[in-house]
Symmetry: C2
Subunit: 231 residues, 2 copies
C-alpha cells in the first residue's frame, strides 16, 4: 500500500475527520500497515463556498489551490475533497494540478449503483450553493438520473440550518430536519436520496436509520478513494 | 485562528482519524472558520513501535522524522502525535525539529487533574512497548502518581489482542477485554485509569460507559492541542 491519498478538507472539519474514520473502517485491514496512507489538509479557514457563489462572498479558490499545493508537496498521488460545494471549483482545481481529483458526484453515482439504483428519479440534498450550481442535476442527468431537490422553503427552514448545526458541533439536533426533508423527497417519487453535502450524513447518523436507500457522499468518496489506493 | 496543528498519525489510522473528530467536537465553534486548522499526516506504514522496542523490529524513527518534515513543510506550528508508544522516540523527534511536540503523557496528566485525580495510584493501560519503556511510570512519578499496570497475563490475553482488534476495524469486540482489565486495575486500588494507547478509547467507546474515571489520551491530546491553537 504505497499510494498516498491527499484529502483537501476542513469544509467542514467534522466532515473531513469523519471521512478519515470511514476511509479507515471501509478498508479491509488486519493491521496498521494494511491501511491507506493519507494526508488530510484540514483548513476550516477556506471561505464559505455557498456565500461565494450566491452572495458575493470571498472567493475560496486561492485557499483551495494553496491546499492542493500542500498536498502535492506531501507526496499525494490523487486528491479527494470531502465537500460537495467545493466541487463548483472542480474544473479550476483540476486544471491547476496534474494529480487526479476524484469527483464526489461520480462517487455518489457509484454509490447509487451499489445500492441498486441505476437511473430514474432520486432526491439530492445539499447546500444552496451545490444546488444552485446544478452540480448534481447536470452531471447525473448524463447518467440517466433525474434529480429532485428540496423546495426553497425546506432549504431555508430545515436543510441550511441543519448543516450549520453540524458545523457548530450540534450534530444530534440536525437529525430531525434532515430526516424530514429526505422523507419528503421520497414522498415526491425519489428512489433514493443522495446526502450531497458531507455535513448531512453526520446529522443522519445521529438518529435512527432511515427506512429507504440513502447515499452518503462521505462513504461514497471513501470507497472510490480506497479503490484508487489499492490500484 | 491562524496557528496550524501538525498531527503525526496513522499509528493507528483509526485512532488518528478519531483524534481529528474529537479535536473538532471539543473546539468551541459556531462555523467552519472557528475550528483549528490542522494537517494530519496519516502514515500507517510506520513500522510497529512495540515490535521495534521489544522484538528487534524495524526502527520507526526514520518514518517518524519523514512525517515531521512533511508537517513542517505544511506550515505546522506544533506537533501532536496520537500514538502513545511513538513517544518512546520523543527525545529524538524533539531534537530533530524546532516545533514544540505536545507530549501525550503530559496531556494525560492534565486530563487526570481535570477529572479531579491529582496524585496517588492510577491504572495505566497501554501497549507492551509503552509499558516496557516506562513512558507513564517514570514521567508521572514526578507528578506524584503511582502507576499500576496490567499483569503480563492480562496484557497477553486481553489488552494486546484488543488493541489488534481495533487496528483490524473490529472495534466492538475490543470493549469486553479492555473493560475487564480497566475494572481489575480499579479493584487493585487505582483512582482512575489512563487509556494510554489511542486504540483503547475507541474500544471503550464501543460499549457502556465505565463506572469510574477514565482518561482518554485521544481527548487529552485534543484538549491540549486546542489550548495551543487558541493561544
Amino acid at each position: 500500500m504505497q499510494r498516498i491519498l491527499g484529502v483537501l478538507g476542513g469544509m467542514g472539519p467534522l466532515a473531513s475527520a469523519q471521512f478519515m474514520v470511514r476511509l479507515t473502517l471501509l478498508t479491509p485491514a488486519e493491521r496498521d500497515q494494511d491501511h491507506v496512507p493519507a494526508v488530510l489538509w484540514s483548513d476550516p479557514r477556506i471561505p464559505d463556498r455557498s456565500a461565494a457563489r450566491l452572495a458575493g462572498g470571498e472567493d475560496p479558490l486561492p485557499a483551495l489551490l494553496h491546499g492542493l499545493r500542500g498536498l502535492e508537496a506531501a507526496g499525494a498521488g490523487a486528491i479527494a475533497i470531502p465537500c460537495n460545494t467545493a466541487h463548483g471549483w472542480f474544473d479550476e482545481m483540476q486544471a491547476a494540478t496534474s494529480l487526479p481529483i476524484l469527483h464526489i458526484v461520480d462517487a455518489a453515482a457509484a454509490e447509487l449503483a451499489r445500492l441498486g439504483v441505476r437511473a430514474g428519479p432520486i432526491g439530492v440534498m445539499g447546500t444552496t450553493g451545490t444546488l444552485a450550481m446544478r452540480l448534481y442535476q447536470d452531471r447525473l442527468a448524463d447518467r440517466g438520473y433525474e434529480c429532485l431537490v428540496p423546495e426553497p422553503e425546506e432549504m431555508a427552514r430545515q436543510v441550511t440550518p441543519a448543516i450549520g448545526l453540524v458545523k457548530a458541533n450540534r450534530v444530534a439536533e440536525a437529525y430531525g430536519p434532515l430526516a424530514e426533508v429526505a422523507a419528503a423527497l421520497m414522498a415526491r417519487g425519489a428512489r433514493a436520496v443522495v446526502l450531497g453535502c458531507t455535513e448531512i450524513p453526520l446529522g443522519i447518523a445521529a438518529g435512527p436509520a432511515l427506512p429507504f436507500p440513502v447515499a452518503s457522499t462521505i462513504d461514497a468518496l471513501a470507497r472510490v478513494s480506497i479503490d484508487w489506493a489499492r490500484g
